[in-house]
């Protein structure tokens, strides 16, 4: 069974590599042999620029610097959103009144894209780091909250009764029953939220940034440097993929009880 599992994993990795290779080949093919090549740089050019940017600065920093700023912004906004979102979501899920009051507001705010908030956020927080955190926060908060809410709402009431019969205090019921019961759902929300938080990095760096992965795209766009735009896009894509993978691994560890196949 273990062996089978390893085999399956290796097989999936092979497919993933093949899929990505096919994507790059198709990109190379289209830019080499069609008219698209006149406007759009091919993968070789972009990858070369990408590698160079680790050593030669774009604007004030090399790619390391840009990655540092973007990841920092996203993590700060995201962590605050996750912590607050879990608390608010569980409160909504366990209290009828919180639900009735807060839920409609969330459903209303959720479809508004982070980018739409930029003017207001600048008005409230100026143009430093704070408004960038705020945009990331906006991009991830509702997803965490609504999932935590669903998770807490679905806690089996028998389990709560059961914990009470075993002499568990209300505080322990929250920590040892409600929270772990909602964990798979909370994780699902945190996973989606991390993706949307990272997606919001471009919007965040529209606010007076001089660095960051989103800023690279903006800079490329301003100077009609299309290879630079594509470098920004590739970096955002790869980092997003890595973040999602890390989250999945954390979920595997923390919610192993929820999987039927172990």
């Amino acid at each position: 069974m273990k062996k089978h599992f390893v085999g399956e994993k290796a097989e999936k990795t092979v497919y993933a590599i093949l899929a990505i290779a096919t994507f790059f080949l198709a990109w190379a093919f289209i830019t080499t042999f069609t008219a698209a090549g006149e406007t759009t740089p091919g993968p070789v050019e972009v990858l070369k620029l990408l590698v160079d940017s680790f050593f030669e600065p774009i604007g004030r920093f090399t790619l390391y610097g840009h990655l540092y700023y973007s990841i920092r912004r996203v993590l700060v906004g995201y962590v605050v959103a996750a912590v607050l979102g879990i608390i608010v979501g569980i409160a909504m899920g366990t209290s009828r009144y919180a639900e009735a009051i807060i839920k409609p507001i969330f459903e209303l705010i959720r479809p508004i894209p982070p980018i739409a908030w930029i003017p207001l956020v600048i008005l409230w927080f100026g143009v430093g780091e704070l408004p960038k955190y705020a945009i990331i926060f906006i991009g991830s908060f509702t997803n965490v909250t609504l999932n935590a809410y669903t998770g807490a709402q679905r806690v089996d009431p028998t389990l709560i009764g059961c914990a009470k019969m075993l002499g568990t205090s209300d505080r322990d019921i929250f920590l040892r029953v409600v929270l772990p019961s909602s964990l798979p759902q909370i994780f699902a929300g945190m996973q989606v939220a991390l993706s949307t938080a990272w997606m919001a990095v471009l919007a965040a760096e529209m606010i007076g940034a001089q660095e960051g992965c989103g800023w690279i795209i903006l800079r490329g766009s301003d100077t009609t440097n299309i290879p630079l735009v594509l470098v920004g896009m590739v970096v955002i894509g790869v980092v997003g993929l890595l973040l999602a993978t890390i989250m999945r691994m954390a979920e595997r560890r923390l919610c192993s009880w929820n999987r039927m196949d172990v």
């Binding site: 089996d156 028998t158 389990l159 009764g161 059961c162 914990a163 009470k164 019969m165 075993l166 002499g167 568990t168 205090s169 322990d172 040892r176 029953v177 772990p180 019961s181 964990l183 919610c255 192993s256 009880w257 929820n258 039927m260 172990v262």
Partner: protein, 257 residues
């Protein structure tokens, strides 16, 4: 409690207990004036047709539902809410899915702040007693139905309750596993004597396990009859006395509505 001049050693006592559910303006009478005394270490089976109010009676003793009338007393204290002096084994497994077998069994002692070494030893004892040695680190979704109910029994025992309330714990098991679990439970109970109130709608199970069978009527349920079972243990399902009692009780049992 003193009644008619005789000292009563009952540990559970229901006095004129009734229960009504009111929902959307409709009143549903479920338990109708039940009075019952259970002695210390007695194995009492509540035997009644489906949907008659058996789970409701368990919930009343557990304190998970308040009585609409009358009083429930356990070990001299009026029941006013859930409490660790009553252990419950549920109709559905109701294990904590995010805790291992060990985590489930030690849940009660941990809640009550018992130090790790003591509670682990205690939990291990009951895990072994129910025959789950080696499965301490398994999660409930990795266990069979019978094994889950074993965990449920160990979890209730490990918290050292004054009384055990078991609501059709074997109701969802296949016939084979069910017989096995009945034998196991009897052995466990012989080894670790507790007062048990056990609910079932299976007559063989009732006679196999009970010191006393309380026959319940349809909803709203009340006590129809009581039978003392003083056959020697472990009992045989094909013993003529067993079969005679089975017929007597079934003849007196109401059809499920």
């Amino acid at each position: 409690m003193e009644q008619n001049g005789r000292i009563d050693h009952s540990i559970i006592s229901l006095e004129h207990v009734s229960k009504r559910f009111e929902s959307a303006g409709r009143v549903k009478e479920v338990v109708n004036d039940v009075s019952l005394e259970v002695k210390e270490n007695e194995f009492v089976v509540l035997f009644g047709p489906g949907q008659c109010g058996k789970t409701t009676m368990i919930n009343l003793i557990a304190g998970l539902e308040p009585a609409s009338g009358g009083t429930v007393t356990v070990d001299g204290k009026k029941v006013e809410g859930p409490g660790a002096d009553r252990g419950v084994v549920y109709q559905t497994t109701a294990l904590f899915p995010f805790c291992t077998v060990m985590g489930n069994v030690e849940f009660g002692p941990k809640s009550r702040g018992i130090d790790k070494k003591t509670r682990r030893e205690r939990a291990q004892y009951f895990i072994n007693l129910v025959g789950l040695e080696g499965f301490e680190k398994s999660y409930p979704n990795q266990l069979s139905g019978g094994m889950r109910q074993r965990v449920g029994i160990a979890r209730a025992y490990c918290n050292d309750p004054k009384v055990m309330l078991m609501d059709e714990p074997f109701g969802h098991l296949d016939a084979q596993t069910r017989y096995m679990m009945e034998e196991e439970l009897e052995k466990i109970w012989q080894k670790e004597k507790r007062t048990v109130v056990f609910v079932t709608n299976n007559i063989e199970e009732a006679i196999y396990l009970a010191d006393r069978i309380i026959l319940l009527t349809n909803c709203p349920t009340s006590i129809k009859e009581e039978y003392i079972v003083d056959l020697p243990r472990p009992r045989s399902y094909v013993d003529p006395e067993f079969l005679k009692l089975r017929k007597t009780i079934l003849d007196n049992t109401e059809e499920t509505l």
